[in-house]
């Protein structure tokens, strides 16, 4: 067994400004040139990143109390409904909620980005009034500075692999994967490939509950496994899954986020979503970890799924590598089909570099996971059924 490093050793180097940090793209060449062993000795941290649309995104906000106070049960932020089922002045606003007045042109994602940009947001709230919270209505304006707390909490981000999308029907489809042109007119795909966080730590050795991350320009943490965490999927010899598998629930400080790393997304005919910028550092604990981060797009595969089949379980037309997808076209049944990404590679790179800078400057240290994710977790579907008979 060659070199091993601990979190403490790596963090000590970071604080002294001596840590060697590279991105998950840069590391590929270094390993090719120097070999795994030498690279493991020299490199301490590899930064990964992604910037793609993630619908399961939202923010917890606390407005503070008015005088007299109100127990808000119906809440509108710039006419977008936020959840009114928490304590008096707490709410959660989801990215995909649409404006009551503007529809899909403006949604929760826009409210969150307006707050991050420092803009004023209109708050309207209603209540039936109680003895302790007599007020029945408020209409006022908030900013991120007027809020007590504001943090993003995203139940599912950073998918470990995602299926590419195609349409075999004779009419165009408008989906969250963009417009899929009829008769296999195009293939759209997500993930930042070799730079994607969970591709670089496929068995979740260093990404777990408590991992310290970059979230939209601010610091954040992995809060839990993401929803629909499906680690039991089929994997290759490197442990990399062929289909959507692990996911992350992320939390981060909205007040310090930067507009350039988060953006509303409106998909034609589908609705509102949100581009979320995530950066995750991976400590090179040993040679196995170095091997994991040195994967290249040619080693990463995903299924091409037919979105024209109106079932949850859509058929695959075959596997394709991220290198092929990135090239701009793929061959399918002897026909060349144009491919286009949805995840921004340019932004993903910017994030990986920004996180690298933070660590090089000593302003960001690593946190060892305080709980690891399950390796064999699978999904259940939603059964549509009658109530159990004997339950009276």
């Amino acid at each position: 067994m060659g070199v091993t490093k601990t979190y403490d050793e790596i963090n000590a180097k970071i604080k002294e400004g001596k840590a060697v940090v590279v991105t998950a793209e840069e590391v590929i060449k270094i390993v090719q040139e120097k070999g795994l062993e030498k690279a493991t000795e020299e490199i301490d941290v590899v930064t990964t990143a992604t910037f793609g649309p993630m619908c399961s995104t939202g923010a917890f906000l606390n407005f503070g109390h008015a005088d007299p106070p109100i127990r808000m049960s119906e809440i509108l932020l710039n006419d977008v409904e936020a959840y009114g089922g928490l304590a008096a002045v707490d709410t959660y606003i989801g990215a995909t909620a649409e404006s009551k007045t503007q529809g899909a042109l403006y949604g929760g994602a826009h409210v969150i980005c307006d707050l991050i940009a420092g803009k004023e947001v209109e708050l309207k709230a209603y209540s039936r009034g109680t003895d302790c919270y007599p007020r029945k209505e408020v209409k006022t304006y908030i900013t991120k500075d007027s809020l007590n707390e504001a943090y993003l909490f995203n139940p599912r981000n950073s998918y470990q692999n995602y299926s590419a999308a195609i349409n075999t029907s004779s009419k165009n489809l408008k989906t969250y994967m963009g417009t899929l042109l009829a008769n296999k007119g195009n293939v759209n795909y997500c993930t930042s490939g070799a730079l994607s966080p969970l591709f670089n730590d496929p068995t979740y050795r260093t990404i777990g509950v408590g991992t310290h991350i970059f979230l939209c320009g601010a610091e954040g943490y992995v809060a839990w496994q993401g929803t629909q965490f499906n680690s039991a999927n089929e994997r290759d010899e490197n442990g990399i899954p062929y289909s959507p598998s692990g996911t992350l629930a992320l939390i981060g400080d909205l007040k310090n986020m930067k507009s350039e790393y988060i953006s509303p997304a409106v998909f034609d005919g589908y609705g509102v979503s949100m581009f979320v910028g995530v950066g995750i550092p991976i400590p090179i604990l040993d040679i196995d970890m170095m091997k994991a981060v040195s994967i290249d797009n040619k080693d990463l595969f995903t299924n091409i799924i037919d979105y024209s089949v109106e079932k949850n379980d859509k058929p695959s037309l075959g596997l394709v590598s991220y290198e092929q997808l990135r090239s701009g076209s793929i061959e399918l049944d002897g026909k060349s089909i144009k491919t286009a990404p949805i995840t921004s590679m340019k932004k993903s790179r910017e994030i990986a570099n920004e996180l690298k800078d933070w660590i090089l400057k000593g302003s960001f240290v690593l946190q060892e996971p305080i709980k690891l994710f399950p390796q064999k977790s699978s999904l259940t579907g939603l059964e549509i059924r009658e109530a159990t008979k004997d339950e009276k």
Partner: protein
């Protein structure tokens, strides 16, 4: 649907009440941007036309049957680079290859000469960064 149409017509049809016909027969809203008549009595007319795509097609046919050269001027799209996140999704519907991601840094590039003005990219862009 809104489009710019450029008409050029020979002297002998300069008197046809085109604008009237476009409004009455094809239910188009028109806004004349430029009109000129030269010394040969040959004229040209540039206008914004708004209406259903079908009516517009038919109106163009009608004008051509009247002996007028009529064609759409394809408005050139604009990209707001402040809001564009370089995701690349617009390239998926751009069959002419006018929108591409640079192979080096994956930044969105717009090759204006290749744009055919189909405008498909406008609605596809999730950050609404493309406009005419």
């Amino acid at each position: 649907m809104k489009n710019k149409i450029l008409l050029t017509f020979p002297g002998d049809v300069t008197n046809t009440p085109i604008a009237y016909d476009l409004v009455k027969k094809y239910d188009l809203r028109i806004n004349i941007l430029r009109a000129s008549i030269n010394y040969n009595m040959k004229g040209s007319l540039l206008m914004d036309v708004e209406g259903t795509p079908e009516n517009m097609e038919n109106a163009i046919k009608y004008l051509q049957d009247e002996g007028i050269n009529a064609d759409f001027i394809h408005p050139i799209i604009k990209i707001d680079h402040d809001t564009c996140v370089d995701c690349g999704l617009c390239t998926s519907v751009c069959v002419s290859g006018a929108l591409i991601l640079s192979p080096d840094d994956f930044a969105l590039e717009f090759l204006q000469d290749k744009c055919v003005g189909c405008n498909l990219c406008i609605n596809v862009c999730p950050t609404k960064s493309i406009s005419i």
